[in-house]
């Protein structure tokens, strides 16, 4: 018996008014992910850059990022459903809460880990605060920032799947609906789609990283230094905690 037939049926892709198809669910999933990431970036980038730039509140960021590792996603989704009711708002808040810490930690540690002598040189040459931040600190922090974005992205794609449980659309629907309709091909198909989406998104960001990060920062080993730094910038990011 094959489970893949479901995935390659054009009928399943198109769906109907009564039964949304894969195309619509995929768009929904992408929509939730993009919206969440956008909101989370707007919150986390300036905050993380500011904390990293001034050095104030760094310990707090590390603490929060560590604590949120243990926060059960499903509990958060349910709690927010009970608090704000049905709709996009609850899951969206949950997704943003989960996406902010990796972004914040990436931006903060990226900026904070910029070699102090480089910042010193920048100031000494007469760069003002914003110039130091935008021309020196952020470009140098970019690998870690994008690392944070990748972490957040995977988190959001995974969690948006679970959010189907509290009534959200997206690809998670296939997994849960397949379970209640006793339609395993649908479950597997949905799972494959989610996994593919996660992998493709991660690859795209990896490509983006290669495009955006200065070649001067990509020389392998040139300044990666001891193990700790390398752990932080891990490419595929197995060192990042997952919560969903």
């Amino acid at each position: 018996m094959t489970y893949l037939g479901w995935l390659f049926s054009s009928e399943n892709w198109a769906g109907s008014a009564e039964n949304p198809g894969i195309a619509q669910r995929l768009v929904e999933h992408l929509g939730y992910t993009a919206l969440t990431l956008l909101i989370a970036l707007v919150i986390a980038l300036p905050l993380g850059a500011w904390i990293g730039h001034t050095g104030r509140g760094g310990l707090m960021v590390v603490g929060i990022a560590n604590a949120l590792r243990a926060l059960p996603t499903l509990g958060l989704l349910v709690l927010l459903f009970l608090a704000v009711g049905l709709g996009l708002l609850g899951p969206l808040i949950a997704l943003v809460i989960l996406a902010v810490p990796p972004l914040l930690a990436g931006t903060y540690s990226g900026v904070a880990n910029v070699d102090p002598s480089i910042v010193d040189a920048a100031k000494g040459m007469g760069m003002r605060g914003p110039e130091v931040l935008f021309k020196v600190e952020l470009p140098n922090a970019l690998p870690l920032i994008i690392g944070g974005v990748r972490s957040a992205l995977l988190q959001v794609i995974s969690t948006a799947t679970i959010a189907a449980y509290v009534g959200l659309g997206g690809l998670g629907r296939f997994i849960l609906d397949g379970l209640s309709q006793r339609d395993f091909p649908q479950m597997i198909g949905g799972s494959i789609l989610v996994a593919l989406l996660a992998i493709v998104a991660d690859l795209l960001l990896g490509g983006l990283q290669r495009l955006l990060v200065s070649p001067g920062l990509q020389q392998r080993g040139a300044q990666a230094g001891p193990g700790r730094l390398r752990l932080i910038r891990g490419g595929a990011g197995t060192d990042r905690a997952r919560a969903a």
Binding site: A121, M125, N140
Partner: protein, 364 residues
Amino acid sequence: MIEFRGVTKRFPDGTVAVHELDLVAEQGRITVFVGPSGCGKTTSVRMINRMIEPTSGELRVDGRDVLAGDPADLRRGIGYVIQQAGLFPHRTIVDNIATVPVLLGRGRREGRSRAMELMETVGLDPSMARRYPNQLSGGQQQRVGVARALAADPPVLLMDEPFSAVDPVVRENLQDELLRLQSELGKTIVFVTHDIDEAIKLGDKVAVFRVGGTLAQYDEPGVLLSRPVDEFVDTFVGRDRGYRGLGFLSSDTIPIGELPTVGLGDPVPEQGWHAVLDGERRPLGWIDGGHRPGGATVSEGDVVPGGSLYPVGSGSLRGALDAALSSPSGRGVAVDADGRVAGSISADDVLTALPDARRHDPAA
């Protein structure tokens, strides 16, 4: 010219890093701040471009109060070189050097062409322009650092331990290069180091700081060596200061004596040390008369390596003494400006000339 008038820096935790500093770094000269760690030398230099704000006192660069106006504008007019260069890893060499011109609003293109000129000035191959800092050696990075500081042609250059992270051979190289550059550019340079030898080599004047941020002595290097004001400076200047002090005394009064010489292919002399010369009368080494392992005529295999050479007219007593002491014959070879043999000097001649040289030393 950079003037410190009663400048004090007290950090929020109460530590006094610099206490009532009065000092003038002269126009077009290299002034070196030297001292043990915690003596306030780096704090002092960083107050000049307001990387650290003075707590009290007055600080002027070319007559302008540095505390008036915007620190960023001030810094754009002052070159700044730090340890390990502080190059921007995300920018190419040429863009690193062009940083300040671009900051000052000159176009990127103009900045780059200026950067290419400067690369040659500091002795970097222009083919490196498109590379990134981490593809360069430490010494090369330091040259880029100097070029970057010079890019906007600032009259003042601050150098904070710029050569302390490179190996001794490269460091000596960079020091020579800096002296050569300075002879062409004539900037007002304040140079911080913890290495007294570097201070003495580079400084037109040297300021020795003691822990607690006070100035122990501010003098020309020769004076520092010959007449340290107190025990602290004496100890800091270190051993052999008497000998090193000879380096700042003129050797013009030393009599140049005879030098027995022999050419390659000539018969080996009967006895005594002879300098072996090439066809241009440049010294190749020595041969000990009477010993003839290689046969009856002088061949290259017979030549014993000589010591250092003493350049007539431009040498110091230290150079003269070393030439004599490092020669196997006990007599140092004196050469003229073209490197041709001019005669010989002995250690006795140097010592005889010493009192006279001291009397004529303007610094003394």
